[in-house]
Symmetry: C2
């Protein structure tokens, strides 16, 4: 069989899934996108930037850079950090950070609800199973 | 000024824009995504794979691979090619290709219409202008 691994792999992949990724761009910058919003959510859940980075399998440096990009491009910072000791204290979302998270998740949910018939139609166009080769 | 180009660049970037990117995934494979749908649309407009690739600034090989991925993962091929001469003939969308394109664009339009208030709220959180540094 000369089929590449990819072609045979999806027999076990489960049902097809449709996903929205929503980005707010400003020129080449992306002030709000799925990775940044996941990070805000993780900060809210974990209570610190380090904990959020760990929960997402991301380096602390990467998390910090993403938050810094948001802080630099939004109307106000998204995270407030407590200055507590050498290892850094906790972090909480500011009202702006909370607003980004809530509007983004609400937008995703509304988009999914409003587009169900077309989403189902697209999913039905995907072959569930294929004989390899 | 020590600000990196990115930070200063968005003063001239125009207003922020919100964009949906919709993907149908099947395990690690993406049978339907924004690049593939743009390609279907270009094939319909240009009447050939080569013309579509040219219109999108994409290599012929890349266009062919994207179409091949769709053909391999959807219920039927998306493009039908005419065998006309050494340079290859034209190409038209099959009913499946047309269905993917139409449902995808309709889904994008409905998502945008349904989420306008939250989209506006997110866009209002983006700083329009910043003093550099």
């Amino acid at each position: 069989m000369s089929a590449p691994p990819r072609a045979g792999a999806h027999a076990k992949a489960g049902p097809p899934r449709l996903r929205f990724r929503v980005r707010v761009s400003l020129g080449d910058v992306v002030p709000i996108g799925p990775g940044k919003v996941d990070l805000l959510e993780a900060v809210r859940e974990q209570g610190s930037i380090a904990g959020a980075a760990r929960a997402l399998g991301m380096s602390y440096r990467r998390a910090w850079l993403l938050l810094d990009e948001m802080n630099a491009t939004l109307i106000a910072p998204v995270v407030e950090t407590a200055h507590g000791g050498a290892t850094g204290g906790g972090a909480v979302l500011t009202p702006t950070g909370t607003a980004v998270l809530q509007h983004y998740r609400a937008l995703e949910a509304e988009a999914a609800a409003a587009t169900r018939p077309h989403a189902q139609a697209l999913l039905r166009l995907v072959a569930r199973e294929r004989s390899p080769g």
